[in-house]
Amino acid sequence: MNEILLRHREIPNLDQLPIYRQNKGFVTFQRAVTSMKPDEVTEIVKASGLRGRGGAGFPTGMKWSFIDENNWPHYVTANADESEPGTFKDREIMESNPFQFLEGVMLCAYAIGAKVAYVYLRGEFWQLAAELDKHIEYLEREGLLGEKLFDTEYGLRIYTHIGAGAYICGEETAMLESLEGKLGQPRLRPPFPPSFGLYGKPTVVNNVETLTSVPLIVERGADWFRGFGTEKSPGTKIFSLSGNVERPGNYELPLGATFRELIFTHGGGIPGDRKIKAIMPAGASSSLIVADEKALDAPMDYENVPSVGAMLGSASIIVIDDSVSMDWLIKKTVRFFAHESCGKCTPCREGTYWMKHITERICGGGANWEDVILLNEVATGIKGKCLCALGDFATEAVTSSIERFRADFEAKAQPAPVSIETKVGAK
């Protein structure tokens, strides 16, 4: 089903403005600006139960309602810094369904009274930013962006801003710092962006997929949206499927669809005669789930993924087959986080560096079991001690794989003295 976000797969040339308008495009935005109060837009989004699709799953309408009404101007910044290993959904949206995304930005801006919105794209999306600039110009020519829209007092400008290769800029306050021309390093929170955001002004930061969900919610209503997904996780979501799977790609499914449905029905299962071993549901930031029958039947939504030992996050499902050894896998994920740590918080900066060296040693076969214990201790020392979640993310695959795929490490790091073994088993 491509009901909401990947509609371009059903409607050819939806990336062209006339076609988008033929499909009721910007009718909702015009109706909102001319006949709805900003709060009414927020209320619909709130009632829809839409939750942030960037990873944290925070209720979108609630975030909008937190905007500080006593401090102006307000800003919208769309987070198009998509950089989580395993995630490639926002890119498809912006390439193929760009006007629905932009209309989402516009509705959000109207709802919070912002007259300027920025789209922060990762630098690698250079071509995509150039395309979006053309679309924005087109909207200005058509009178859908600019001053005094539809003969009202409301006006809006959208600008693109491109980053230059830094995963951390996907963290909302690091993104704001980067947009201000500084190093992309997270801020201490609170205050949160709705009270102290871009240039110290109230700002809503939303992910591309979140914003792209908004136009149809406002057009068709909260009840319609709640017709998809589960009670606590309404709507559809794009699952980016990658790794050892026959048909990797983006799949839009209702929240609550099972891992089995995604991986085997849509993804075609595991190539060759291999068996599925593990699943990372939230990209490289994810804990490793043992892919047993219970896990495969678990619904992919915000409330149920934790019951099988991970988070849904941005729903970047990386499938791991039984040819993969976990010591190699965490060497990969740790290398990523060590490279991307912004350096602000010592536990993350130093801890990821040490984890990188230890995982390389284990994977290279030059480690003993004490190294595995040391690795686990370094990871535990990072967790919960940093300003943003990057430090925690760096540890998830490490600690979960040592706990759940212990044999892989035992095979690489002999011998395993009994006294130390007990220590690792302890929580």
Partner: protein, 166 residues
């Protein structure tokens, strides 16, 4: 103002107009991209020029160059082949792809070919996990994606650059 501003005045003013008048610093990243077009990396002189245009120190500008991976402070190949070998790509053969490409080009990751045409780098996730092996090519003026690649298809691209003068 200065030489950089003289050469790209209209474009730089266009960039500055995106941000509030008292927040010029926001333009540092777009201005660095403009500067990098000239030599493929940012020179000391350009750091001073950008600092002057934005009213910030050259050190501040240099810190941005150092923090973000798409800016370079020294020369490399005319084309930088940036291969993603993060976990999802590696599960689809990106490590082997990178090794073989380096072997064919007779470079190590991070190195530049003897003719100065190509630098091969291993980079972090590029949001194309479903079409690995893949890489992006960063040149002075643009970044392009090349997905579902083989070593042969990559070498064909390199051959094209070499024939086109290099």
């Amino acid at each position: 103002m200065n030489a950089l501003h003289q050469r790209y005045g209209e474009e730089i003013e266009g960039v500055l107009s995106k941000y509030p008048a008292d927040q010029k610093r926001s333009a540092v990243m777009p201005l660095l991209y403009i500067a990098q077009r000239e030599h493929g990396y940012v020179t000391r002189e350009q750091l001073d020029q950008i600092g002057e245009i934005l009213g910030i120190s050259s050190t501040d500008v240099a810190s941005i160059v150092g923090f973000y991976t798409l800016y370079h402070d020294g020369p490399g190949g005319k084309y930088r082949i940036q291969v993603c070998n993060d976990l999802p790509c590696a599960l689809r053969g990106a490590d082997e792809f990178l090794d073989q490409l380096c072997e064919r080009l007779q470079v190590r990751p991070g190195g530049t070919t003897a003719d100065g045409i190509v630098t091969v780098e291993d980079v972090m996730c590029l949001a194309a996990c479903h079409r690995a092996p893949m890489f992006q090519v960063q040149s002075r003026t643009e970044i392009t994606y090349h997905e579902d690649q083989t070593v042969d298809s990559a070498m064909l691209l390199v051959q094209g650059w070499r024939q086109g003068n290099g």
